[in-house]
Amino acid sequence: MRRYVLSRAAAAVFIIAVVMVVNFLLTHVVPGNPVDALVGEFPAPPEYVEKVKRDFGLDRPLLVQLWLYAAALAQGNLGFSFANREAVLPLILRHAGNTLLLMIPALSAAAIGGILLGSAAARRAGGLYDAALTAVTLAGYATPVFWLAQVLIVIFAVTLHWLPAQGMLSIDQGSGTLASVVKDYLRHLVLPGFAIAISYMAVVARVCRASLLEAMRQDFVLLALSKGLWPARVFWRHVLPNALIPVITVIGYNFGFALTGAILTETVFGWPGLGYLFITSIAKRDYPVLEGIFLLASVAVVLANLLTDLAYAAVDPRVRRSLLGAAA
């Protein structure tokens, strides 16, 4: 068990190291000058350009530069965004907070909804329910999420006037009470949250359905039923826990997919998160911010995968027991 955790952690560290090298090499593929990539195409004071050249040793061998770059990253220095007149790391972290305010509720709802829908479909396997689930999943794989977002705006904001079309909070919330701010946030959350959640939920539901059907075929289920246990008790106590492992895997391993969805959705809804920062930075050619977002997004995905691997281990009772044994 300890070996498993260590090997997963080592793999995560390796991937982050490669991502760092990729990010470093990206600054060198920019046509022209790596300074442009490190500073962005924004009129920066010449003293700062000189400082960047010196700090990153741009006149020294590539390996030395890589070392200096890694050292800067280790100190949390992702560069400076002249377009925003702010260091890159706090700028990204502030926007990442807003992205999490969008993603966490959406993904939680998608995971819970997916498990419930998948359970319902598994109990009525082969029916209309199944067909609908397959159709939604297929559609989810083919739907451009930015377009779904636009369609939601056209229907629910422009035509029906039910929900706001843009932003995370209304402009006049400055003096509102906490309850009214939360209510305002929730109203803004519904449409972009739905746009991100729907295909994620369909994927979770499909995997949940398949693994439930697989678990129901096992011998211990037959044994439990023939002992005379209530079918509902067999389902909740024996079938569902055994079926959850693939479901946890699909939830965790699709984090990157959901993050990409969030980034695209935010730009349509003007949600002030990473996606919004990303698209404005593309327009301003603010390269340090773009590279910083890629680096932090990769780290987030690697961590989500690592957590999934650990959760996977924790759900499996055999592994859990050996973990407790190792701790004792």
């Binding site: 990729v22 990539a37 451009p144 377009w147 990303f278 890629f294």
Partner: protein, 274 residues
């Protein structure tokens, strides 16, 4: 021939194969199908659908339907080329890893894992933003980010094929390992990877649409993502500017995915026999 027949078995197979054939013909024949230039600016701005223009016009009076037709060429070109490159890279890496095993396998599969984990849309957007937009660059970037799945499938199939008896028989003739791999193993392991390659087409089209939605496509070619993006500011006044390009992307990607499934079944011998 047997594979071709298997393609058109069942309604999904017929529909998706027919769709792919029709859009391919439309894309090639676009200049003859419509004589209007997709970038033609006219005075008929923001016309609603089903008036003078079937799908309406945009803020510069350009016909949305003609735009969709020319956007189809870009989408298909990017999708096919990117999927072809990705499949070739996947075949090479998967075959080397599966056939030679050992440290070659470990090293190649580690690299594959890294490429699978990196958030590909964000990386693609950063690379294109740094390099500047351009059709060739978009194709190369999408291909670089799409090969891992092909490599994994190829490796699995090579692992299976290389254990078959005929491979040992060929080896006994004294033929070198590299040529056994290239002449005997790879041709017999291509089925599953070609099916995956077909599925990559749909994903590549979607990725290209997302990139051009972010303004990362070449400014002088018409593309569906860019049409949807420039429609964004008219969501309140002219919904058709965003909605129709999105439907085009959706239907095309859906059909290519179904076509990929169909190809997968047609190439799978167990399925063809039953």
């Amino acid at each position: 021939m047997r594979v071709l027949w298997a393609l058109v078995r069942g309604p999904v197979g017929v529909a998706s194969t027919a769709f792919v054939a029709v859009v391919a013909a439309l894309a090639m024949a676009a200049p003859w199908v419509s004589r209007t230039d997709p970038n033609q600016i006219t005075n008929d701005v923001l016309l609603a659908p089903l008036t003078q223009a079937v799908l309406g016009t945009d803020e510069l009076g350009r016909d949305v339907l003609v735009g969709l037709l020319y956007g189809l060429r870009v989408s298909l070109l990017v999708g096919l080329l990117a999927a072809a490159f990705a499949t070739l890279v996947g075949i090479a890496i998967g075959a080397l890893a599966g056939y030679f095993g050992g440290w070659i396998d470990t090293a190649l599969m580690r690299i594959t894992e890294v490429f699978q984990v990196m958030p590909s849309f964000i990386l693609a957007a950063v690379i294109v933003a740094l390099l500047g937009p351009g059709l060739t660059r978009v194709v190369m970037v999408i291909a670089i980010l799409s090969w891992p799945e092909a490599a994994r499938v190829m490796r699995g199939e090579v692992l299976r094929v290389k254990q078959l008896e005929y491979v040992d028989a060929v080896r006994c003739l004294g033929i070198g390992e590299l040529s056994v791999m290239i002449r005997e193993v790879i041709p017999n392991a291509l089925g599953p990877v070609l099916a995956v390659g077909t599925l990559i087409i749909g994903r590549a089209i979607l990725l290209e649409a997302s990139l051009s939605f972010f303004g990362l496509s070449s400014p002088d070619s018409v593309s569906w993502g860019r049409m949807a993006n420039s429609g964004q500011q008219f969501l309140f006044a002219a919904w058709w500017l965003s909605v129709f390009p999105g439907i085009a992307i959706f239907v095309t990607v859906l059909m290519f995915n179904l076509f990929g499934d169909t190809v997968g079944r047609a190439l799978n011998p167990r399925y063809a026999r039953s």
